[in-house]
C-alpha cells in the first residue's frame, strides 16, 4: 500500500494534478467564484470532449505512433450522428453509427500505417484533410441543425449533482483502467511502444496491436462526437477543428511519452482537464480569451522541459553514486592487493 502511494506521488499525473489544484487555488484568491461546485462541474463538463479524444490518442502514442486526424474523425462522426438523428433513427442505434464511423475512420488510418508502412504522421495528416473534406462534402458546408433536442437531455439530466455524461465518462475511465489491468493484450500496447523489435521477437502480435490502437483512437473520437452533439444540440462545421493538436498536448502534458510505452488513461484525462481548466481560469482572471493558447503552450513547454531536467538530475545522481561505488570498490581491491604483495 505504502509503495503504491509512493508510486502515485512520484508520478507525472500526480504532479500535473497538484499543479492543477494550485492553479485553481491561486485563482480563487483573486476570484472566489472559482471554487463554487457549479464552476468545477462546468469545467469537467466542458473537458469531456477533449478527455475522450485524448484517451483514444493515448493508445496510439503508447505504441509510439501519432494520430493527428482524431479531431477530423470526431467531426466526421458528429456529422454522421447528426444525419442519423435527423433521419429519425433511434438514439442508441444513432450512437452506435457514430461510434462505428469513428472506428472505421481509425481503421483506415491503421491500414495505411500497419500494412502500407506509411509514417503515422503522414498518413493521419493526409486523412485529416480527407475526413475534413468529406465532412464538408456530406453537409455541403452548412451546419446540421434541427436535431431533435431530446438529445440534449443527456447533458442536462443530473444524477447526484453530476450530469449523466460526467458519470458516463467516469464509467469509461473505470472500464478502461480495469481492462488495462486485467487483459493481457492491453500490455501489448506498452510492449510494442517500448521496443517494437523486442515485442515482435517475444511473439506479440505487433501489427494487430497497432491496428487496434488506431481503431480505438477512432472509436473514442466517435464517442467524443456524441458528447459534443449532446452538449450543444447541433453540428457546426468547425467540430473538432484544431482539437487533434490539443489532444496530443493533453496526453503529453499528462505524462505519456511520444517515444512510446509510458503513460496511463489518467495521463490523458488529467492532461485534458488541465488544458480546459486553463481556459476557464482565464475567464475568472478577466484575461481576454485570445491568450488561452499562449498559456496552454507555455504550460506544456514548461512541464516537458522540467520533466527533462528532473530526469537528467536523477540520472546524473545515479551515475555519480555509481561512480563513487566503483571508486570505493577499486580502492578496497587495490588496498587488498598491496597488502598481498607487500610481505
Amino acid at each position: 500500500m505504502k509503495q503504491l502511494l509512493g508510486q502515485i506521488i512520484r508520478s507525472r499525473e500526480f504532479l500535473v494534478l497538484v499543479l492543477l489544484a494550485l492553479m485553481v487555488l491561486a485563482v480563487s484568491t483573486v476570484n472566489s467564484a472559482v471554487l463554487k461546485p457549479v464552476t468545477l462541474i462546468n469545467i469537467i463538463n466542458s473537458s469531456l470532449f477533449l478527455m475522450l479524444i485524448a484517451t483514444g490518442q493515448m493508445f496510439v502514442i503508447l505504441t509510439r505512433g501519432i494520430d493527428v486526424s482524431v479531431g477530423a474523425t470526431a467531426g466526421l462522426s458528429a456529422v454522421v450522428f447528426g444525419f442519423a438523428l435527423n433521419a429519425g433513427i433511434p438514439l442508441p442505434i444513432a450512437m452506435l453509427t457514430a461510434l462505428l464511423t469513428g472506428a472505421a475512420a481509425g481503421a483506415v488510418n491503421a491500414v495505411g500505417i500497419v500494412f502500407g508502412k506509411i509514417p503515422p504522421i503522414i498518413m493521419t495528416l493526409g486523412t485529416l484533410g480527407i475526413y475534413r473534406g468529406l465532412m464538408r462534402m456530406l453537409t455541403g458546408g452548412s451546419w446540421i441543425e434541427s436535431i431533435p433536442q431530446s438529445i440534449k437531455s443527456f447533458a442536462v439530466t443530473r444524477f447526484l449533482f453530476l450530469p449523466l455524461m460526467v458519470w458516463a465518462m467516469i464509467g469509461v475511465v473505470i472500464l478502461v483502467v480495469v481492462l488495462m489491468r486485467r487483459i493481457k493484450a492491453a500490455r501489448f500496447f506498452y510492449a510494442v511502444g517500448d521496443n517494437r523489435e523486442g515485442a515482435y521477437l517475444l511473439g506479440i502480435p505487433v501489427r494487430s496491436t497497432e491496428f487496434m490502437a488506431y481503431t480505438l483512437a477512432g472509436l473514442f473520437s466517435g464517442a467524443a462526437a456524441i458528447v459534443f452533439v449532446g452538449q450543444i444540440g447541433f453540428v457546426p462545421m468547425q467540430t473538432g477543428s484544431g482539437q487533434e493538436l490539443k489532444a496530443i498536448a493533453a496526453v503529453v502534458l499528462g505524462g505519456v511519452s511520444l517515444m512510446g510505452g509510458v503513460g496511463t488513461v489518467f495521463s490523458a484525462v488529467i492532461g485534458a482537464l488541465f488544458l480546459t481548466t486553463v481556459d476557464s481560469m482565464m475567464i475568472f482572471l478577466k484575461i481576454p480569451g485570445s491568450w488561452n493558447d499562449a498559456v496552454a503552450g507555455a504550460v506544456l513547454l514548461i512541464v516537458v522541459v522540467s520533466d527533462y531536467m528532473i530526469r537528467r538530475t536523477v540520472r546524473a545522481r545515479q551515475l555519480n553514486a555509481r561512480a563513487k561505488e566503483i571508486a570505493i570498490s577499486e580502492q578496497t581491491t587495490s588496498n587488498h592487493q598491496t597488502t598481498k604483495v607487500s610481505p
Binding site: 503522414i122 498518413m123 484533410g129 473534406g133 498536448a249 511520444l258 503552450g297 506544456l300 522541459v305
Partner: protein, 340 residues
C-alpha cells in the same frame, strides 16, 4: 520527375479549360499559394535533420501581427518589416535551442510553441488595447477583429501585389529563397551538417559536427522563412492578421513530403519542395477553375500526400526485391559454374 508531373498537370488542366493555360494566368495565380512554398522551404531544411517544426504556421500569424502593431505604433515600415522578420527568426531559434538542449521530441516542442506563438499573436492586440494605445483607428478593437490591421503603406503592399517585369513579387521572392536555400544545402558545410545529422545524429556528434549550433540555426531559418511567408500574405491581403496560415499546415507538409523529403531525415531537396509546391498550387487553382468546390480540395491534397509516400515506399520495396533477385540469380550462376 516532379517537373514532368507539373507539365502533365498543366497540360491536362489546360486541355479541359483552355483559359487556364495562358502565361499571365499561370504567373498571377502563383501569388495565391507561394507563401506555402516559402514556409515549406524552411521546413525542408528542418526535416533534413530528422526534426520537424509545426509551429511555422503560428509564426506566420505572429510576424504578420508584429508588423502591423509596430507600424501602428509608429515604426517606419522598413523597420517594422525588420522587427517582424527578427521576431520570426528569434521564435525559430528558440525552438531550435530547446530541441538542441534537451532530448524532447521536436514535435512536442514545436506543438507547445505552435500554441504559444498563436496565442501571443492573438493576444498582443488586446494587450495594446489595455495599455491604452489607440492602435485601431475609429473602428476600435472590434473593427480590427474583422478586418485586421489595414492602412499599410504602398511600398509594403508592393511585396504582395507588385511586379518585376512580368513576374509578380511573391514569386520573385520565392525563387530567391529557393536559390538561397538550395545553395545552403548543396554548396556549404552547413548543408552537409544538416544531412549528416539527419542520417545519424550520434555519428555527427562523434565526428565533431557542431550539432547544437547547427540545429539552432536551421530552426531559426525555418522561423525566418515562416515570417517571410507571413509578410507576403499580409502584403497580398493588405491587412495584418494573427490567424494567417492557421490552415496551411497540411499544405506545407504535403509540399515538403511530395518534394521527396523523408520525414525521418537525411533526404530531401529544396528544388523538389519548390516544384511540389507548384504542382499542389496549380492543382488547387485548376480544380477551382473547373468549378470544383474548395470543400473537396483537402480530400485531394490528403490523398496526394498519402499516395505519394505510399508510392515511394512501394517502389523502394520493389527495387529492393528486384536487386535481391538479381543478386540471387547471379549467385546461382557462379555456384552452377563452379560445380559444373
Amino acid at each position: 520527375m516532379l517537373a514532368v508531373v507539373l507539365v502533365v498537370e498543366l497540360g491536362v488542366l489546360g486541355t479541359i479549360n483552355p483559359v487556364f493555360l495562358n502565361y499571365q494566368n499561370l504567373l498571377f495565380s502563383t501569388s495565391d499559394f507561394v507563401p506555402v512554398i516559402i514556409a515549406a522551404i524552411g521546413l525542408t531544411l528542418v526535416i533534413m535533420t530528422g526534426g520537424i517544426d509545426i509551429s511555422g504556421v503560428s509564426v506566420m500569424g505572429l510576424s504578420s501581427i508584429v508588423l502591423g502593431l509596430s507600424f501602428v505604433a509608429g515604426a517606419p515600415i522598413g523597420f517594422a518589416v525588420l522587427i517582424a522578420l527578427g521576431t520570426g527568426t528569434a521564435a525559430g531559434a528558440f525552438n531550435g535551442t530547446v530541441v538542441a538542449r534537451t532530448d524532447i521530441n521536436p514535435l512536442v516542442v514545436t506543438l507547445a510553441m505552435l500554441f504559444f506563438y498563436s496565442g501571443v499573436a492573438a493576444g498582443l492586440p488586446t494587450l495594446l488595447d489595455v495599455l491604452g494605445f489607440k492602435a485601431y483607428g475609429a473602428g476600435g478593437f472590434e473593427a480590427y477583429q474583422y478586418e485586421g490591421i489595414t492602412g499599410l503603406p504602398d511600398s509594403f503592399i508592393w511585396l504582395g501585389n507588385g511586379m518585376i517585369g512580368p513576374v509578380p513579387m511573391p514569386l520573385v521572392l520565392t525563387i530567391l529563397i529557393t536559390i538561397a536555400a538550395s545553395w545552403l544545402m548543396l554548396f556549404t558545410r552547413f548543408g552537409r551538417f544538416l544531412k549528416l545529422i539527419g542520417v545519424n545524429k550520434d555519428a555527427a556528434i562523434y565526428s565533431g559536427v557542431p550539432v547544437g549550433r547547427t540545429l539552432v540555426r536551421v530552426y531559426a531559418i525555418n522561423g525566418f522563412t515562416a515570417a517571410v511567408a507571413g509578410l507576403v500574405l499580409t502584403a497580398y491581403f493588405t491587412s495584418a492578421r494573427s490567424d494567417l496560415g492557421s490552415e496551411a499546415l497540411l499544405n506545407i507538409i504535403t509540399a515538403v513530403v511530395l518534394g521527396g523529403s523523408s520525414i525521418y531525415g537525411g533526404q530531401g531537396s529544396v528544388l523538389g519542395t519548390f516544384l511540389a509546391g507548384l504542382v499542389l498550387g496549380y492543382l488547387r487553382q485548376g480544380l477551382l477553375a473547373l468549378g470544383i468546390t474548395s470543400n473537396i480540395i483537402p480530400i485531394i491534397v490528403g490523398g496526394l500526400l498519402i499516395s505519394s509516400v505510399g508510392f515511394k515506399i512501394l517502389s523502394g520495396y520493389l527495387n529492393e526485391k528486384r536487386a535481391n533477385q538479381r543478386a540471387y540469380s547471379r549467385e546461382r550462376l557462379t555456384v552452377n559454374k563452379s560445380e559444373g
